[in-house]
Amino acid sequence: MKLSQLEVGEIGIVKEFTDLEMSVKLMEMGCLPGEEVTVSRIAPLGDPIAITVAGYQLSLRKFEASTIILQ
């Protein structure tokens, strides 16, 4: 299951990444394997999305979210 497939309010736990370059940036922002992520909202036009991770809100594009595999 990918993070981009979650609906608003759903929770997942990060398992791994499919894109090394993106993973480096995401991990710096606290989005690491084992972290719990919640989809907080989706932008009015359907992209990007906002997730809650490590106690704060992070916005990322759907494509970027699709590189995050959940447990």
Partner: protein, 704 residues
């Protein structure tokens, strides 16, 4: 002021770093540039309890030492480059106590560079309120550094922080966070030996960043590249391993020292606000209302101070003319330099108000929501959610807006934003549009509610946005991206704006604008003044002699005589000659030589148009008397056709020309400054010129 100790402030964005900087330094601060890069360098002085003075440098906010934008790349250079004049004796890492985990990543990286470091645990009041309990003593003990809880907003703990800076160690005593060498043992060891480095993390950072940092020699950089190949070092994999190790360390540390309640903290309030502000329908309505309010305020609130500034300059000019002996030098100083200065200064109120709005919107966290909402739309045309800020700013002035594109990490997105921002209707175009619309559009209402002149003006604003979007789309197809675009951005918790910060940022921007744009405008207005005040050969003398003949001296009143002389001199000045020279080129657009002069002078700055028109139609007094300019222009008749010069077709053709042409020396200068390459301003100047000519031609032929 001489500093006894150099202190650098560093931390994530949105941690209250700037507030702390303002508290420590007060008005003792100055903004400069880091050499070679266009990153604002904020430094200030702070007196310490023992009487020494600390130089504080506020580094750009960053999430890690691995830079994602130009601003962020400066952080590592300042902290690590031994020859950097700002290399700090002490680093104060500002952490957001309510969001420690992500904040600590940067701390562990900075600490591993082995510079003496202190932690300022900011927003401790918010953490308390959210039920987060931090065992500060244990936290400090485990890291081996002084930790000072502060609240920069409430001005609490600042004296303790100053004392901690005062008594800080001269050597780095912090504990190791991770075992850096295990990431790439051979490579780190070899770089350390060959470059004579004693810090393994510094060696590792060089391995990652050697291609972009400026303080190592090309030979050293090549050697590092060779070593990386030899030990098959993979930068991204190494960075991933490092980040995971650091977060493991941080998780262990926080597990022992911090208790977070199960329910999330004040984010819920923020969440509620977000539900409305990023709502499918209300979100956009609110955004456009905010924009509308902003423009209304920029125009409404700035009118009076602008008038005051203009009047002040007229007063100064009049007085100087009376005080100083008449002559070319006085003319150059008073009409050239001071006249040019007044052209810059009148825009101060608009720029100040615009920046007050923008920094308030940024400070509250709303701007990142706008970015969030608009990203998809913007991406379709080759821009980026973050392009919204400069494009909105472009309505006031392209110069600060182009400076604000630095937050866009992606090179291609940033270039396209810079290229199209000057198309947005800036405040300098407003007087021109108002003047021309009032000449040709009847002042009456349609559909009861809408004033036709107002509609025409609104139309010009919308037209400028549409053209910016179309041009951006074309650039998207032409330009090749250098790197993949991405949009990973923090959405900070909503906070009340800190009015102090807003005021500081307003002050800074105005100062930068006056200094940067001021130089160019003064230089060009001096040149224009010379061109308009002198003519080839003895033409001026002949004109003076002609008007000394009795048929003029007796028939005309002295005022009328002077006006007649002035306007004939202008026609025969270098500027007038130039106007005649370009007349054949601009004739297809419906312009005569007089408009030609205004077009030429407007290449310094668009706002010169009204002033030039005023001079050309030999109106008494200053350019501010719009009514008289308007009347004169309305009654101007084309000698060939006998019809008014400013017909609907000519007026709209002229407006189109001003809508597209790059008639702003300050923007050209700032684009060069931001891109560090003459190609970009040249391309911009060319494409905007071609568009201006083509659209004007089209408008003139369609309407006449």
């Amino acid at each position: 002021m001489k500093a006894d100790i150099k202190v650098a402030l560093t931390g994530n964005p949105n941690t209250g770093k700037s507030t702390l900087f303002n508290l420590l330094t007060g008005l003792n601060q100055k903004i400069g540039n880091f050499p070679g890069v266009t990153v604002d360098k904020k430094t200030g002085y702070c007196p310490l309890p023992d009487g020494r003075v600390a130089e504080i440098i506020d580094l750009p906010g960053t999430y890690s030492l691995y830079p994602k934008s130009q601003d962020e790349s400066i952080v590592f250079s300042v902290l690590a480059d031994p020859s950097n004049p700002h290399k700090p004796d002490l680093v104060v890492v500002v952490l957001d106590a309510s969001n420690l985990k992500r904040n600590l990543l940067l701390y562990t990286q900075v600490a591993d560079l082995k510079i003496p470091v202190i932690i300022a645990l900011n927003m401790i009041d918010l953490a308390d309120k959210g039920g987060i309990s931090i065992n500060i003593d244990l936290f400090a003990k485990k890291l081996g550094v002084p930790v000072v809880p502060i609240s920069a907003r409430k001005k609490e703990g600042i004296d303790k922080l100053k004392a901690a800076i005062n008594f800080a160690n001269k050597i780095a005593l912090q504990e190791e966070s991770i075992d850096v060498e295990t990431i790439a043992p051979e490579l780190i060891g070899q770089i350390g030996r060959e470059l004579n480095l004693d810090n393994p993390y510094y060696a590792l950072q060089l391995a990652h960043q050697h291609e972009t940092i400026k303080f190592i020699s090309p030979a050293e950089s090549e050697r590092i590249e060779e070593l990386e190949k030899e030990f098959s070092f993979h930068s991204q994999k190494a960075q991933a391993a490092e980040t995971i190790a650091r977060y493991n360390f941080i998780n262990d540390l926080l597990y022992d020292t911090v208790k977070v309640p199960e329910t999330a903290r004040d984010e819920t309030a923020s969440n509620k606000i977000d539900k409305i502000l990023t709502h499918k329908v209300f979100g956009f309505i609110i955004f456009f209302s905010v924009l509308l309010f902003m423009f209304q305020s920029i125009f409404a609130w700035s009118a009076y101070p602008m008038e005051l500034i203009a009047d002040l300059f007229v007063w100064i000019q009049n007085n100087l003319h009376q005080l100083l002996p008449a002559g070319p030098l006085t003319g150059l100083l008073v009409d050239g330099v001071i006249g040019g200065l007044s052209g810059v200064m009148v825009f101060i109120p608009q720029i100040a108000i615009l920046f007050a709005f923008i920094s308030t919107l940024e400070d509250t966290g709303y701007m990142s929501r706008v970015t969030f909402m608009m990203d998809k739309l913007m991406r379709k045309v080759g821009l980026n959610g973050k392009s919204v800020v400069p494009l909105i700013g472009g309505f006031a002035c392209a110069v600060p807006s182009i400076m604000s594109t630095r937050t866009i990490e992606n090179w291609k997105d940033r270039m396209i934003t810079i290229m199209v921002t000057p198309l947005v209707t800036c405040s300098a175009r407003l007087p021109i549009y108002v003047l021309l619309i009032s000449l040709v559009v009847p002042n009456r209402n349609v559909w009861w509610l809408f004033n036709m002149q107002g509609l025409a003006l609104t139309g010009m604003y919308i037209f400028s946005l549409v053209s910016a979007i179309v041009v951006a789309f074309v650039f998207k197809l032409i330009l090749k991206g250098r790197e993949r675009g991405y949009f990973i951005m923090e959405l900070p918790v909503y906070r009340m704006p800190r009015w102090n910060n807003v005021a500081y940022s307003m002050y800074e921007r105005v100062k930068t604008f006056v200094l940067q744009a001021g130089k160019v405008i003064i230089a060009i207005s001096v040149i224009l003044w010379v061109l308009a005040s002198y003519g080839p050969g003895d033409r001026f003398k002949q004109i003076e002699q002609k008007y000394q003949q009795p048929q003029y001296m007796q028939k005309l009143k002295p005022d009328d005589l002077n006006r007649a002389i002035r306007s004939e001199k202008l026609e025969n000045s270098y500027a007038g000659v130039l106007g005649h020279v370009i007349e054949p080129v601009i004739k297809p657009l419906g312009f005569d030589w007089k408009i030609g002069i205004a077009l030429i002078t407007s290449f310094a700055a668009r706002e010169v148009f009204v002033g030039t028109m005023a001079t050309i139609y030999s109106v008494e007094g200053s350019a501010e008397k719009m009514e008289t300019v308007q009347k004169k222009m309305k009654s101007a008749v084309n000698p060939e056709t006998g019809k008014p010069v400013f017909s609907l077709a000519v007026a709209f053709s002229l407006m189109m020309f001003y809508a597209f042409a790059m008639q702003c020396a300050s923007t050209v200068a700032v684009v060069y400054r931001e891109t560090k390459n003459w190609r970009w301003p040249a391309i911009q100047f060319a494409y905007m010129g071609v568009l201006a000519y083509a659209v004007s031609l089209l408008a003139f032929n369609l309407l006449s």
